[in-house]
Symmetry: D2
Subunit: 348 residues, 4 copies
């Protein structure tokens, strides 16, 4: 299958290409970048040196539509809306890595992004790209929107608990910790001021909250509120979500395990993590870096009637490019794990 | 004044000595260490090379009592109980940096430490060493117990909110992030397995919870439960406590500020942090490293009726040795900030 | 092909297994570990969870010989000598990741390791496992010894310069910088004391010097001395070798390029790095992590008649397990890059 | 004494202020910054919050000259030339932290900076600010130019060896490793691309080479060439210089020690580091961070007739602001260590 990447010079575009160059089912035909047209891809994405001789081109909808069966759009929020529509209208399959088609409700863009969506009528055509939740819809979709990195990571930890009605839905706190690659290649604080931080950067009102609430409300069959607070920490890749919940009814450890096994027992990219001793008792992004896994685990706090759900992912993989490939695989009828069975790099 | 340090070979002992060598009011007369007796202090504590020619000695109660007016005990939990009693009985002033005299109730040691305190009758003679809460008692105490690093950091963020009755006391979540020096010099995971972690190491039941509940219950005048979950992150020094609370009544931003100013307006070592833009909107341990400050700030989350209180400290300073010196200063009638007015190292 | 791994619980053993679980030509039949026999492999090697249900066994030569066509030995220096001989005598192919069969001369073990080799007669049966230098011999070998991580990295940078007689052989300085995973899983300094170091740990007499001198002397056809000084820096994976050499005759930039192209133009795992601007002017291990590449580049210093050769690798890949797989591929007639075409993880 | 700081918003300006706010002999009267005039100093330099209520002003020569006895100029290379001259002509004492008055020869600026110095006649009035080499001249100077961070660090390691004629002067290699704060606050690579690097950023022709050659030539009494290659590593503060030299005559370890003791035995800010075992055998910047020390040590490599001299400093302290204060102390007749006796932060 012929694929293209729009926005191929950023971290997410680069990671998508890193996976595509080794994917058994695809040929990369077009990589576009506004700023680097005419240059070799590997000059901007040094990890690809030796894997490809592709050259960046300018974005041209007609050319892209004629040369690609599926396109990954990896451009900043706000920039994707138009590109996605243009390619959609030309019949191309699209996996969008921006936020522009994640929310189903136009109003959500006003609330979380302070933005009026230019093509709200396309929102309902977009499927939220978490195969663990929406596999059947993704299979039939022309447009799939990849989830935000903190959104997919925390949603996978919380969804089974909410589905089973285990936790109060008034006091769900998601405390997230994330690495610097999440900022994207265009921004990012200089190393001297970013190294060693434990920086609360948006204790309330973070945009990913909208997605999490949308998805968990869908699971619950009713309106769910989530209190999400992200923190920047000194890693490049990796997210840990610590979801503090309070039990709505009596629940024991076994029942929680059953809920998670029921949800993810057949899933290739969700691993349940639990050990009584050692360094691997709970999920830790250190042990998923480079892979498409979302590791999920939990702890019970009987003193406080609390259930702490924990999930870890690589924000550029399951949190972005890995999910994108997984979605493509589902959309195109490939083996869902094709080109994705990377082990984590350990230690790294 | 003549001071001694028991357990001078560890991180906390080293940090205490680092402060003492430059303190204007003291002379260090004895440094003891079981493993290093006879060696130069600076061979084990390289940062002290050029500041002292002290030699480690074996611990001898009589010698210590005769040569020291005040002793800092910086030995692991469980080891201090006996040493503190022995020195106390000999009339020496003591600043204890272990956990052995922090809890007022003997039962607490059973619950949080799985340990039976050998000298419970001394617990009531010990003052919990947070001058911002107990200055008058510390002034008159012979024995002061320095708080746990995560305990003092989170308590300072929460105490004013609880004192003013602003927050629900059923759903207080403290999500802490801490560096590797908190593990002490005797343990500690090898770098290759510790670098880059975001590791939940005790999502429920962490020992410092006992102290926090003790102190906040004292402030509230009633039993308070706290849900504390610490995480190891890739810094050496530093703690961030993110306290997620839910409002018990209508409260606006100004009222929160007033509460904090009332509590800490005159305090030398608590800084209130808030900016509308830039990198310093909220507390971040990166900007307190090397200093005795506990920076405190907050954010309001009206969507969820949530108030996020944030506090940052250097776990070896305000979280250990800095508090120890501050307590000594209060106990001995020195200027409370003597030998402590270090600026943070920025950037580091 | 059926393969086994001895010493499967360490970093190098784990990395070898990480590559083997996805290798298209092999089946892993035995993983042994003295300390973990009976346990699931993935409890000790968490990155393998989801890829294998193998269980550690005790090392049994007969069983290993009957179940494996080829065995990787990944045990500490000194422990491999016996195991390799035992398996060799039973006709098994061996890729040894220890230092025990790297040097051709028995005396070298005395000088560099202070050790008397118990089976010196096997030294000549072992081929030094750098396919870029000894491909034909490796093809026919029963026993291949993988190079030391700093040895292979610096040798690849220097060999072409020495082959072409470009540099003085009296003043070759190799200044190496390496991450913490090089220390192995059994040792390793605690994070708090290892983070942030730039530590010269063996400015003279490092063991890898013996290998480098052996290999470069072979290339030169005469005795070559190398001054190697390694430094520990704050990464987990990665080596940079900065080889400072002085020109033996007039040489221009183009001639150096020709020498490198002649040596490595057809090599899959040596990339020549050079750009006039941007962040990728010279090799940097950040851009090879997770891959089997050794990136090579250089700079001319006409003021001092100096040629600085630079090389970067992932010490667990080209510096250990990646080389091991590459050697196996050559020994067994597989495509040399089978199971090895991982792109670097960027950024990580 | 009344002091001012020009360029007070950068890392070096901030570090200078960090030291000045606690200096016993000075009062800070003016802090200027082109971009931040009118703002509180502590909004830009968060570590100073609680230590000062100073407000940035625009640079006004007359005002500065009337309000300050001594001024620190901490602006980028090229920008200082004019400011220093203007203040010098008004009779103010100046400690310049830029490179603009370091070289004695106008030609050096052409060679190393590609720049024509606008006021070459002032170069001879400037004293190179290393008290360990030029204390008497500094005492009498109106203008002192602080050395480059890698220059002072490597020069202190090499000067005694060259003074005693121990090493060949044709093959001096200085391989430097430095943290990200050396890049200054105005530039600096984003964390995701800077973390984990071991990046050779200027293997030949680095500007500090000019200073090192100037100073060592002065010590030698003849022209000395130095081959300097800096590398960026993943720390914020810290420099290690590894100086690889070859012996010019027979020299034993004791003689090297004597040379260093003779040079630095009375110096407060040079520590000689050597231990046979443990983690502190050689200098390591980890153990000087936050202090004004330059730690110096060495190793002998008899195989190669090599002497490896090693030195470590905090690039913002001895490599910049610490040296600036030390120079001020000498210029003004204060105790040379006034306001500078900070112990390193360990561990950090």
């Amino acid at each position: 299958m012929r694929v293209g990447v729009v926005g191929a010079s950023g971290y997410v575009g680069g990671e998508t290409l890193r996976l595509l160059v080794n994917h058994p089912e695809v040929e990369i035909t077009v990589v576009s970048s506004r700023n680097h047209a005419g240059q070799y891809l590997h000059r901007i994405q040094p990890s690809l040196k030796g894997f490809t001789d592709l050259v960046f081109s300018d974005l041209d909808y007609e050319e892209m539509a004629s040369k690609c069966d599926l396109v990954f759009t990896a451009v900043p929020h706000g920039s994707a809306a138009e590109i996605v529509k243009a390619l959609y209208d030309r019949g191309v399959k699209i996996v969008d890595l921006s936020a522009d088609y994640r929310l189903h409700e136009q109003d959500g863009y006003g609330k979380w992004y302070g933005w009026t969506h230019p093509h709200p009528e396309y929102l309902e055509r977009s499927v939220y790209g978490v195969p663990e939740l929406h596999r059947e819809q993704i299979r039939k979709a022309q447009l799939v929107s990849c989830p935000g990195c903190m959104a997919v990571t925390s949603t996978l930890a919380l969804a089974p608990l909410i589905r089973e009605g285990m936790v109060e839905t008034e006091h769900i706190v998601v405390d997230s910790k994330i690495g610097s690659s999440g900022a994207g290649s265009g921004s990012g604080t200089a190393h001297a001021m970013r190294a060693g931080v434990i920086r609360p950067y948006k204790p309330s009102g973070h945009r990913h909250t909208g997605e999490i609430e949308q998805e968990l409300s869908g699971v619950a069959g009713g309106r769910i509120r989530v209190s999400m607070s992200p923190h920047a920490v000194d890693v490049v890749r990796g997210i840990l979500c610590t979801a503090h919940t309070f039990l709505a009814r009596e629940v024991d450890e076994k029942e929680v395990w059953r809920a998670y096994r029921k949800a993810y027992g057949e899933e290739r990219f969700v691993r349940l993590i639990r050990d009584k001793k050692g360094l691997y008792k709970f999920p830790d992004p250190k042990f998923v870096v480079g892979s498409n896994f979302c590791d999920v685990g939990f702890d019970m706090d009987p003193d406080n009637n609390r259930l702490v759900a924990l999930s870890a992912s690589d924000n550029l993989m399951k949190g972005a490019a890995g999910s994108a490939i997984q979605n493509m695989n589902v959309m195109c009828g490939f083996d869902e794990s094709a080109g994705l069975m990377y082990t984590p790099l350990t230690p790294v």
